[in-house]
């Protein structure tokens, strides 16, 4: 689906990280956690290519004046990394964006009642909020959020409001445990005897560590990947990742955009990548 979205709110939630709410068609409310949208920042040719963003949240926006009609919204959480996201952060309420989505596969929610361990690194939290919102309906959910410093750990209050038990870790010790969030995750798995399933999104190094933890402890693990992509629809073949059995002789490339972005960690190749 392609639609024009009007920005309702665009705010910096932590230095360099922004959260944007925009109008969306009602179909967007059915977006699955883990799906993404491709946003055209402006109609000019620079930047030319759309930017992919995980769906942070969808819902009904209730304007704060009497008699106003509620209307569906889409939220994205993004980090300013270059020209495109820089321009995005300069936009204001009532500015118009061109959006494609929801695209890609979503997370598999898994059995009700089972403990769900959500692991997010930095802006990797983006697709995990909608996931947590879904999962808390029938399962205990724990969030493990990590980053370099406290500025990279985002929106923890929102997760707590959902009833999610939140654990944080930072590499500089400015928030939560000092060190990697994967260590905290392992602590929980030790305590429960490797119960539950893991859903993770974040930098490649973190996902690789999480995949290794899941494999070693036989805990089902899903990861949401990022990729450089031009189209988001399986045509440009820019965003591919390698399947577990990939080799030069028997290549197995998967499109992050259409076959992912969510994959079972076990179906992907991690060593050497």
């Amino acid at each position: 689906m392609q639609f024009k979205a009007m920005i309702l709110d665009n705010a910096e939630v932590s230095p360099g990280y922004w959260r944007m709410r925009m109008t969306a068609p009602a179909e967007m409310l059915a977006a699955k956690p883990g799906q993404f949208v491709m946003v055209r920042v402006n109609p000019s040719i620079d930047p030319l290519i759309r930017r992919p963003f995980g769906v942070f949240d969808v819902g009904m926006h209730q304007p704060a004046y009497t008699g106003a009609v509620a209307q569906p919204y889409l939220e994205i959480l993004y980090r300013v990394v270059g020209k495109g996201t820089g321009m995005l952060s300069d936009l204001h309420e009532n500015d118009i964006l061109d959006v494609l989505g929801p695209l890609g596969s979503g997370f598999d929610n898994g059995p009700a009642g089972e403990e769900k361990l959500i692991v997010g690194g930095g802006v990797g939290l983006a697709p995990l909020y909608l996931l947590a919102k879904e999962l808390v309906k029938d399962s205990p959910v724990r969030l493990f959020a990590g980053g370099r410093s406290k500025d990279d750990v985002l929106c923890i209050t929102e997760f707590e409001r959902l009833g999610v038990e939140c654990y944080t870790a930072t590499e500089d010790g400015s928030l939560g445990e000092c060190g990697l969030v994967t260590k905290v995750l392992e602590g929980r798995l030790d305590a429960t005897g490797n119960k539950g399933q893991i859903c993770a999104c974040g930098p490649h190094g973190m996902l690789k560590a999480v995949a290794a933890i899941g494999a070693k402890r036989s805990v089902k693990t899903q990861v949401s990947l990022e990729g450089y992509m031009a189209c988001g629809m399986g045509a440009c073949l820019g965003c591919v990742c390698q399947g577990a059995e990939h080799s030069a002789e028997n290549p197995d490339y998967r499109c992050v955009c259409t076959e992912g972005p969510v994959f079972e960690a076990a179906v992907l190749k991690w060593e050497g990548n």
């Binding site: 392609q2 031009a230 189209c231």
Partner: protein
């Protein structure tokens, strides 16, 4: 009054001059949600080889000002899977599907041309000659007139369908290449493929693309493409299909004026999946607003 937008490329009759470029439109089906395929002239499928090809490691694409570089490495399902999995969809669409293909020896090209000739759902063939010739030290077929002519002649002998040759712009003299291909039996020429380019990550002191170099496409290359279409169209009798950075109906019409009989929309489909249809409709509106009855009257109608 509705302008006549139809054009002919060899024996291929198109309802309008707008096609999609190979590698930017999958096998057609991927975009069917966004484009009414029966509102465009034709679509060109992702380049095919005899055997499936894995393509290059990532990163494969990077954005550059007004364009993008890609080094996909011709990843494709191969001709067998194409016939099994992709052709059934082509049958369901009342729009010509053009199969783009490539090989590494003239024999491979000929074999593919022959196999594609047997597929009724394939309306025409577009041969990509921007590949290295493994039999001749890796020289790119499309950069040597004799090499290019030998490939085109081999394909010509293997198919009766309309044979389009997609020219590489990475040559000293594109007119010489165009004439060599025309002389070897090409029915039409697609001008141009991507321009070889490079992007560097300064802080890491590394090339951005895993393949180091890649093909530049998008609006950044439009002036180069227009110039080459103009040069080629004046020098050959066969129709020219203009490609390179077309984002709008006015871009497309500029190529027609420069001498193109039809155009292909490529990178624009990534940015706006409905681009090809919007461009076709926009061209028709442009003609109608000016009382121009037939798009063919604009082909090569550049003045001065």
């Amino acid at each position: 009054m509705k302008p006549d937008m139809s054009v002919e490329i060899g024996s291929l009759k198109l309802r309008n001059p707008v096609m999609t470029a190979s590698g930017t439109f999958g096998y057609g089906e991927e975009f069917s949600q966004y484009v009414d395929l029966e509102k465009i002239g034709a679509f060109v499928t992702k380049g095919l080889s005899l055997k499936p090809r894995a393509g290059n490691p990532t990163p494969r694409i990077v954005e550059t000002p007004g364009g993008m570089l890609n080094a996909i490495g011709l990843q494709n399902v191969g001709i067998d899977a194409f016939i099994q999995k992709k052709v059934p969809f082509l049958r369901s669409v009342n729009t010509p599907a053009i199969a783009n293909f490539f090989g590494y020896t003239p024999d491979e090209y000929a074999e593919l041309a022959s196999r594609l000739d047997d597929i009724p759902e394939v309306a025409a063939l577009e041969v990509n000659i921007s590949c290295p010739n493994v039999k001749q030290g890796g020289i790119v077929f499309g950069t040597d007139p004799n090499c290019a002519a030998s490939v085109v002649a081999a394909c010509r002998a293997a198919t009766k369908k309309t044979l389009i040759v997609k020219l590489s712009p990475n040559v000293t003299d594109i007119v010489e290449m165009a004439q060599a291909c025309e002389g070897a039996g090409a029915d039409a020429l697609s001008v141009i493929n991507t321009l070889t380019g490079m992007a560097i990550d300064l802080e890491r002191r590394r090339p951005v693309l895993a393949n180091i170099t890649g093909g530049l496409s998008g609006p950044a290359i439009k002036p180069v493409a227009l110039r080459m279409v103009w040069q080629v169209a004046r020098a050959v009798k066969v129709p020219v299909i203009g490609i390179g950075g077309i984002m709008s109906a006015t871009d497309a019409l500029e190529f027609i004026l420069a001498g193109a009989t039809a155009v292909q929309v490529g990178t624009a489909s990534f940015v706006n999946p409905g681009a090809a249809q919007e461009i076709a409709e926009g061209m028709e509106q442009w003609l109608a607003a000016r009382g121009i009855a037939d798009i063919k009257s604009l082909i090569g109608a550049l003045e001065g």
